[in-house]
Symmetry: C2
């Protein structure tokens, strides 16, 4: 029997995939999700649809059973009803399948008498047959390198973030939102009820996986707390780990139990665990995305001294509050820097302190670039954050705002000071459509981009703290 790492390596890179229980009649049926995704990703090995009715699907022969598939099958994606799941595992064993992913729900998470025992049966079968099981009640694997996906819209480009998520929906949310902000993933696994392979197995794999340099985890409960602690100890100092642990209160624990049959556990233990092993603990999915953006584009802000420059005096004051609330500092500009700024910037309507409101000069792109250069050259700050709020700007200003990306990147190249940008995203449709190209230009320039003032402050502060503790 091969070791866990090799087993998972094979599971993440199967040579062929069968789809057991796929609907052959309804193209919009949920069981088509995986078929559509692998086709969209141009999976290179053979794909075998399996359905008792046989027939054809998108030009492929549909096999009535797994055993009838002519070639070898490495990996099975099963969408059959929970009740016949055990039967399918036996079928996999006979066929020599290495692993099966059960998307199907209807197991321990229902808490119903009729469903009891079914999941335990799967666990036992995995042990007896050696067929590894992902799930049930989950979305399985997204691995751009091997062209596995459970969403046609995910990015095809591979990256360096590994995500281990107990929830399929939350993984989709995180992959899509982070993907739009320039984050790419090495492997994503939605593992659900974890009747066989669990969060610790995937974490152990990702710690050693050279393609994964940042590990993100969404958990509702844990099967083996001691093993998790050992793994977090092992990864500590090697790769940053970002954790989103849910199911905190009474109803939260109940929700975790009815979602993935998880025991949520005492929250104070999770806090202690994170502190001990320098795990970045986030409390919302948005926060996790903000932290992933920071770790990717601003992995070490270098300290707590921020320079804020943007548009709008009121925005300046609010953003400063958000930064100071998170323990970040805005050192006052020395007179010399101020004089240098004043030599080419307007006084009325700007605020040439720190924060800097550069409203009056920002439409003059050469001034903006020069101002950011002057400010980032100053030793007193560790990093620079630009900001604007589109719902406060008249439309003609937006296009000029694109200069920001250029100015920040230029300043970064010259000063090596980390740079970020906060764009408080407006909701009205016209504004949004004008906004996207601007945001895209920041993302293309590899600037850390945030959507809210508090979100930026919190994520940057968490990454600063992570680095402070790492270096202790």
């Amino acid at each position: 029997m091969t070791g866990l790492h090799e087993q998972l390596e094979e599971i993440f890179h199967p040579k062929s995939v069968a789809f057991v229980g796929i609907s052959t009649s309804n193209p919009f049926h949920w069981t088509r999700t995986f078929w559509d995704s692998l086709r969209e990703f141009q999976f290179e090995g053979p794909l075998y649809p399996v359905n008792p009715h046989g027939g054809e699907l998108d030009g492929y022969t549909v096999y009535a059973s797994l055993e009838e598939v002519p070639g070898e099958v490495d990996y099975v994606i099963s969408t059959v009803n929970a009740k016949i799941a055990p039967e399918i595992v036996q079928s996999c064993a006979r066929k020599g399948v290495k692993a099966i992913h059960f998307c199907t729900a209807g197991f321990d998470e229902t808490g119903e008498a009729g469903c009891e025992g079914l999941q335990q049966k799967l666990t036992q079968l995995a042990r007896d047959t050696g067929v590894r099981i992902i799930g049930p009640n989950c979305m399985g694997i997204y691995c751009p390198q091997s062209r596995l996906s459970y969403d046609t819209g995910f990015e095809k480009e591979a990256g360096n973030v590994g995500l281990i998520s107990q929830s399929g929906g939350n993984s989709i949310y995180i992959v899509r939102e982070a993907g739009w902000r320039g984050i790419r993933f090495s492997k994503v696994i939605s593992f659900g009820n974890a009747c066989d392979l669990n969060e610790c197995d995937f974490l152990e794999y990702m710690i050693e996986d050279p393609k994964t340099t940042i590990i993100a985890i969404y958990l509702e409960g844990v099967k083996d707390g001691r093993r998790l602690a050992r793994l977090l100890a092992r990864v500590s100092g090697r790769k940053p780990v970002v954790l989103l642990k849910s199911g905190l209160g009474e109803a939260g624990a109940r929700a975790a139990s009815s979602h993935t049959a998880s025991l949520a556990g005492d929250d104070t233990i999770w806090d202690a665990l994170c502190r001990q092993f320098n795990v970045i603990r986030t409390s919302t999915a948005e926060e996790m995305v903000d932290v992933l953006v920071t770790l990717t584009y601003m992995p070490d802000p270098g300290g707590r001294n921020a320079l804020l420059i943007g548009l709008g005096g009121g925005a300046c004051v609010l953003l400063t509050d958000d930064f100071e609330r998170q323990g970040l500092r805005l050192p006052p500009l020395p007179e010399q820097v101020r004089q240098e700024l004043m030599s080419f910037s307007q006084l009325a309507g700007n605020m040439l302190r720190n924060p800097v409101d550069y409203s009056q000069d920002m439409l003059e792109s050469s001034n903006l670039i020069r101002a950011i250069q002057v400010l980032t050259a100053w030793d007193g700050i560790d990093f620079c954050v630009g900001f604007f709020r589109p719902s406060q700007l008249p439309p003609p200003a937006w296009e000029i705002v694109m200069t920001w990306g250029e100015a920040l990147v230029k300043a970064y190249l010259e000063s090596r000071k980390p740079v970020a940008f906060v764009c408080d995203s407006a909701i009205t449709p016209e504004r949004h459509n004008k906004l996207f190209p601007v945001l895209q230009s920041f993302i293309n320039a590899k600037v850390a981009l945030y959507y809210t003032f508090p979100g930026a402050a919190r994520a940057i502060s968490m990454v600063v703290e992570y680095n402070e503790r790492r270096l202790k």
Copy 2:
């Protein structure tokens, strides 16, 4: 001399307006903002552009000075350079103008030697001449009823929220974002450095203004703390007051000072003041908008017991955490309610507890409507929150999600239980364009709409607390 209320009543409803210092050559110049806005709003009285160069503007005669304007001038919007501001006030006095709004910056907020004394001069002139001054360094008045505005895009419809804001930019942000979510304003005032009329004057007015039933305040500092406390005592229990006080830390106070020359003051005093007079204290502009939405569409949630129903198990768990973190409760469904739900809903893939994940049945709109009816008929809950996260849904599902608005409104009409909806707004452009009509349908149905799970939880909890304290 007339009283303050009558003076402000006249200022909010001028019969004629002059624009002193408006650019007549550049249609994109910032001094055109007010002219364009009043024209867009179809202000009914005469408008007089004033510029020493004379000539014509949009078919109107441009007068070389205020004194040359043939008719009476009630209200002046001035965009002249700070240095000649005192001269303009004297000109107003000669012309019999009641009030002047100085948009111009470059006064005490710069902290520069050259600007010192200018603002004090204005204060003295207001006292000597009786001409009331708004500002300087602010955007002035938005009053849909009298067709005054400082933004062409503001809603033309009048409403019941009065906003007093020291910052022009923050007021624009709040009016636009809240406007999109269905909030309408009675009067909005951006008052800046407050050399004459200040936050207390406007608050005193709004307390008595029958058109204003909710008062929102953005402050960086206060001129007369005792008077503010007296006014908050007076309004307490009569109209809800929502406060966003910024300038908290060291740099925040410095920012407030360089933005509107404000003394930020000790934050603990503000907290005590809010507790004493049951003022809802928010800490970000987004939070203020969330609270205004709650006060408007769900003014009294009735208690802390929530029913959450939406799409996605992982989303359910996270949302529950957010609600419990804010001290809201999710009582478990009694067996009878559960049985009733199960009689027509699927078991696998749904979570028929509280929170309710209704993923499997939500595409069946009659089931969704029935489920919400069953749940809101149950006595154990005070209010009902539906939710979905578009970045987790396949596109065809979105249109069906529009049923939510219908279902919630129906449930509200039958049960009188307050209802709200959380739509975690996706950022990708295609998604956004599909999303807007859905969001619009909720807003049209007068359902309280939120963009984030934590935001909804926090705003609802703040309004619940406001009501608990009000009834004590």
